[in-house]
């Protein structure tokens, strides 16, 4: 099965052609981790190794970084920008946003400070200094 993807790793945006072949000859439409050793993925069009990794991830388990901002409870009219430390599963984006929306931060905050621990395998960290 072939897929056309656009790499999102860097602004270059390579067009990737991905061919997924299942060893048992079937042409399954669904991808998940359970198939781990039963397929081969051939990536074409990438200009760097990161592109290949992105294409494989995108076929097996697409991931994204979520960025947002949170209210600072002890500062007037102030938000602190945050992001997920590592990429999280694409389908967990909205769930993550819910946690972010319902959390308040107390200043001072430093860049890199963990604000929510252990959420879908990663942390939410601050990306802005608030004095």
């Amino acid at each position: 099965m072939e897929r056309e993807l656009t790499c999102i790793i860097c602004p270059r945006g390579c067009n990737l052609n991905v061919e997924v072949n299942y060893n048992d000859g079937s042409n399954k439409n669904k991808y998940n981790n359970g198939y781990s050793k039963n397929y081969t993925i051939i990536v074409k069009g990438n200009n760097c190794p990161k592109g290949e990794q992105y294409a494989i991830d995108e076929c097996i388990n697409p991931k994204r970084t979520v960025t947002s901002s949170m209210r600072v409870s002890n500062r007037k009219d102030t938000m602190v920008s945050v992001k997920t430390e590592k990429n999280i599963d694409k389908d967990k984006m909205f769930k993550t946003m819910e946690y972010v929306r319902n959390t308040r931060v107390c200043a001072p905050v430093k860049i890199g400070e963990v604000i929510i621990k252990n959420i879908f395998g990663t942390n939410i960290i601050a990306t802005e200094n608030i004095d």
């Binding site: 993807l5 656009t6 790499c7 999102i8 790793i9 860097c10 602004p11 945006g13 067009n15 994204r64 970084t65 979520v66 960025t67 947002s68 901002s69 209210r71 009219d77 938000m79 920008s81 945050v82 992001k83 694409k90 984006m93 909205f94 946003m97 929306r101 860049i111 990306t127 802005e128 200094n129």
Partner: protein, 477 residues
């Protein structure tokens, strides 16, 4: 001898005494005194400036900060930055999404992180940033009038770096017919309201313009729970980065309508809906394709305009295509000692390139202060077939007379944009008929800035001083 001198002195004294008795002298004396007083007053109140600095940078965004750092590192230590907002960082403060710094720093940062990285470097060098300070005027003599809570004062700079950035085009520039309800925002304003102030701008959103800010906002609004009904783009292609189309639109199943615009705005009080319609190749609305979309918010992401009011005050001419100043390869404008970089010079798609450009301008300004810039011959660069503009617009041949300088063999980068999307193409840079460099690209889009380098010593062999450097594009099959 002594007697003789005394006599003459006495004689002079007598003459002088008689002269002072005359009416004309009395009058003259009064006039002279008045003039003295006037002169004193004049110097007191019309002093040309209050403070002096070697280099003054206007704007503490990514361009301003990088330029100041670069100037400092190139041996001019008296550098100050003037910023009108309360915090440095410029537009990066509201760009909380990631994707910054991959080219420049080799890692992926969010906007505030990228700004903090540069702010830290500025602080390490003890470069002063005057926040909450607005520049009202600049002159070609590099006297800057600024205003803040302490009042109005004037700064004299040896070199001036303009890094004011750009602003968004507004609804007024588009002439969309219809009513004037609330709920129409420029994308950047909505971005600031949501990310920095924590407001919600609307629930059902249509976005006009598929530039990067529009695409980023489509994702941001979706994540915040709003429904983005459509992104409309008047051109037959999107001008945004491809990866943003994937991660901002496709991820959230937001439709992108190309060759489509907002034909009418409906609603009184709050926006109730918009009529979208297809356009033909001359961008005229095709009546039959009109379609009504109910929505309460319209975001406009329809282009950025470099903020060049101050530049014009200093008598610097503006390029019609970049809407920024005309500069040479050191980013020096027509007025010697005034430099420009960042989005005030040309609208960039990546902040990494802004930082690169600012470093050139910062080094240029430092070299100017240290009397290292002495351009002699100016060669113009012109866009050729398929190219919209080339920056820098002119190149100074300054190293002609001292070939022993190590940077004699330096490379000059030419930045340009193509007129429309192309497949496989070949760029050729020519000086007259002589080919200076060529490059092959698999694709090119007007949304992505292209770069090609030429060698300065190739320009030495210039035979005719009216010869121009052209960048041409050739389609390959």
């Amino acid at each position: 001898m002594i007697d003789g001198t005394d006599k003459t002195k006495n004689k002079d004294k007598e003459n002088f005494y008689e002269y002072t008795k005359k009416e004309s002298y009395q009058q003259e004396k009064v006039e002279n005194e008045n003039m003295e007083i006037e002169k004193e007053l004049y110097t007191e109140h019309n002093k040309e400036y209050d403070i002096e600095h070697d280099i003054v940078v206007i704007g503490a965004g990514p361009a301003g900060m990088a330029a100041a750092i670069s100037a400092f590192d190139n041996n001019v230590k008296d550098v100050v930055i003037i910023e009108r907002e309360e915090k440095p960082g410029g537009i990066l403060k509201q760009c909380i999404h990631n994707g910054f710094g991959l080219h420049k720093l080799g890692r992926e940062l969010t906007g505030p992180e990228y700004a903090a990285y540069y702010e830290k470097m500025v602080n390490e060098r003890n470069i002063k940033i005057y926040c909450g300070t607005m520049v009202i005027d600049i002159t070609k003599n590099k006297i800057i009038t600024v205003q803040n809570k302490d009042g109005i004062f004037k700064i004299k700079a040896k070199a001036l770096i303009l890094a004011m950035g750009c602003r968004e085009r507004s609804r007024g520039a588009l002439n969309i017919p219809g009513t004037r309800p609330s709920g129409i925002f420029s994308a950047g304003t909505a971005q600031k309201l949501i990310n920095c102030k924590g407001y919600s701008v609307g629930k059902k959103v249509v976005i006009l313009g598929s530039g990067d800010i529009g695409l980023i906002m489509a994702r941001r609004l979706s994540l915040e729970g709003a429904k983005v009904e459509a992104v409309c783009e008047i051109m037959p292609y999107s001008v945004g980065l491809k990866r943003n189309i994937t991660q901002c639109l496709k991820d959230f199943n937001i439709p992108l309508y190309l060759s489509t615009t907002v034909a009418e705005i409906h609603g009184s009080g709050r926006l109730e809906g918009v009529t979208i319609a297809k356009v033909d190749e001359n961008r005229n609305i095709i009546e039959e394709t009109k379609k009504y979309i109910p929505c309460d918010t319209l975001l406009l992401s329809v282009g950025l305009i470099p903020e060049n009011e101050l530049t014009k005050n200093a008598g610097i001419s503006i390029d019609n295509f970049t809407n920024g100043a005309i500069v040479d390869e050191n980013r020096q404008t027509e007025q010697s000692g005034i430099f420009a970089c960042g989005n005030v010079l040309q609208v960039h798609d990546l902040v990494d390139y802004v930082s690169d450009e600012a470093e050139i301008a910062g080094k240029g300004a430092a070299d100017y202060v240290l009397n290292k810039l002495n351009g002699q011959i100016i060669i113009k660069t012109v866009p050729g077939n398929g190219v919209r503009y080339v920056l820098p617009q002119r190149i100074n041949l300054i190293y002609e007379y001292n070939k022993n300088r190590e940077d004699y063999k330096r490379e000059i980068s030419l930045f340009f944009r193509v007129t429309k999307p192309f497949g496989k193409i070949k760029y050729t840079v020519k000086l007259g008929d002589k080919v200076l460099n060529t490059a092959i690209r698999l694709k090119a889009s007007p949304g992505e800035m292209e770069k090609i380098t030429i060698k300065a010593n190739d320009l030495e062999k210039i035979s005719n001083k009216d010869e121009k450097i052209t960048v041409n594009l050739e389609e390959l099959s």
